[in-house]
Symmetry: C2
């Protein structure tokens, strides 16, 4: 192998946001592939808020990573050796590659992608899990109708900016919530949302009431906590809340902020529906085709925030929890 | 009119559970019906936990009752004078009669019922709103499948005991939660539920884990609060939570207990769906026919707790919030 293989391992549990002590770097050689296995060279690594859940030993949709193990992570990779009938050298794939530069693994754990369809980075973002998450969450659960008001939190984030644009495509009034003037300017000026709220400024409930004078019909919730409570206050009857993330509670999982306005769920006949992409893996081609077509037609843009080099992983994790990324955060690995 | 008309009015707002000071009794004559109106003599009055919401000036599915107004309430009544084409004297009807012995009102506000089909009290209980609420909440939202585990809170209550029996009919493992030995004995010995939990005894989460060893697929939630949080802890992937009541928070509406386990809604792909009967009024015949048939076939029993005389209304309200009723609580009015 031309470069030294590098792994980022989960070293020890983190109170709150993971920091440098949470991780350990190793340089172990990668074994040759056995029957059915392939060896891959990772090109892009995805940075996701779900990281916090993966290293927290609590009931979840997926087993927790144990101390000493290579950190879980999503990547796009090139096949550099193959003993699988399904992949040949030079193919590209995506899946849980782990936070490492190289890996040898069962080929069935990876999904083949066509690098001629879009830049590789796109398969980590708008044409990957964040895009699919936006697509199925908004359309399958939210079912937005023309003229309805859709509120999106983390609206400048990897998933949120795609949700906001699909909702615009569907003829909705779209209200984006984000933190800080740069993100809000992006949502207002570039994505042309109907209203933008900086949650760091003033009363969220007042701002929401002004931005959604006809109430809220669909809320794509990436943060939970107080934002969700505020949206519930102005939710219209039969509103749909897509529970996709609870970033506000990830760093305080032991004593999370409780949802206070549960009574409104009853009296307003609201639906709160959670999901993970596991529910939709059998349908991702639907999302891929639509998202690719919309991008080609200039109806949607995918914003990517690309860092370089696996050694910046600890900082990238801090960045995503501080909300300092603009669009989908990923790491490009060198050749 | 043969008896003196009596009205129970909402006198002043209540902190917590309404008490005697919340109400005022008046004896005002009932006007003669005008075109389209009927005069009714109320036979049964329903006592519902929703009362607390009706006298709380907070966004809800229905306008709050104002001080001085006759208290809102559901009743079964006989038509004693009519200037409506739809009702004749001697007909029976149900609807928001108000907490009073007599009323003159627009006939379109009431729904005709056939007293030959069942005892009048039944239209307040199993063949009325509580039965319909159980039916649509469990079947339309919960969609329970044979072999699945269904948990019902307030399982000995007006709605809960119907939910539990329908779930048994559908081939589910049914776990009932109630307070006190009498109710638990009823659920275990009379309704033959698979497991019964007295929430006043020991750890609810431990008891639930034991009663639902394969996890929870459907939860009919009539209480909210800590019980909901406990059920979320052992909810299976894609479980459905029917949000039908939040009795635990009604008496502390200003500072309710927050829902703490929201993150599980995401990671387990849970659905929490609220509803009120307003969503299903166009479909009540479906519920009526099935419930009536099941009662005739001996597959379901409807438990009624009947008090007598409109003057016991304040005590009846206290009783429902103390959970001291066994089955559907109602007041029978004298002739």
């Amino acid at each position: 192998m031309s470069t030294q293989p590098t792994q980022i391992r989960f070293a020890r549990p983190a109170q709150g946001v993971p920091d440098n002590d949470t991780w350990a770097v190793t340089h172990e050689p990668v074994p040759d592939p056995q029957d059915g296995e392939i060896t891959i060279k990772v090109r892009y690594l995805s940075i996701d808020p779900a990281i916090k859940g993966w290293i927290t030993d609590k009931k979840s949709y997926i087993e927790a990573v144990k101390p000493g193990e290579v950190m879980r992570g999503f990547g796009v990779a090139e096949v550099i050796a193959s003993r699988s009938d399904y992949f040949k050298v030079g193919d590209f794939c995506t899946g849980f590659t782990g936070i490492q530069t190289h890996a040898t693994m069962d080929s069935r754990q990876l999904r083949k992608i066509d690098p001629n369809l879009a830049p590789l980075s796109r398969f980590m973002g708008g044409l990957g899990m964040p895009g699919f998450t936006a697509y199925f969450g908004l359309l399958d659960i939210g079912n937005p109708q023309p003229g309805e008001t859709v509120v999106v939190s983390s609206a400048a984030g990897a998933v949120g900016h795609v949700v906001a644009q699909i909702a615009k495509l569907k003829g909705c009034r779209v209200v984006g919530i984000a933190g800080g003037p740069e993100k809000c300017a992006y949502l207002r000026d570039d994505l042309k949302l109907d209203a933008v709220i900086d949650y760091r400024e003033g009363s969220l409930l007042e701002a929401l009431s002004e931005a959604a004078p006809k109430g809220v019909d669909v809320y794509f919730d990436g943060v939970g906590g107080e934002t969700l409570d505020a949206v519930l206050m102005i939710a219209n009857r039969h509103a749909r809340i897509i529970a996709c993330g609870a970033v506000s509670t990830y760093a305080q999982m032991d004593a999370p902020q409780g949802l206070k306005n549960y009574t409104l769920v009853i009296t307003q006949s609201l639906m709160i529906k959670g999901f993970t992409m596991r529910d939709y893996m059998h349908r991702i081609k639907e999302a891929f085709v639509d998202l690719l077509t919309w991008e080609h037609e200039g109806k949607i843009v995918f914003r990517e925030h690309i860092l370089e080099g696996i050694e910046c992983y600890p900082d990238a994790v801090k960045m995503i929890f501080a909300g300092k990324n603009n669009g989908k955060l990923m790491i490009k690995l060198g050749d």
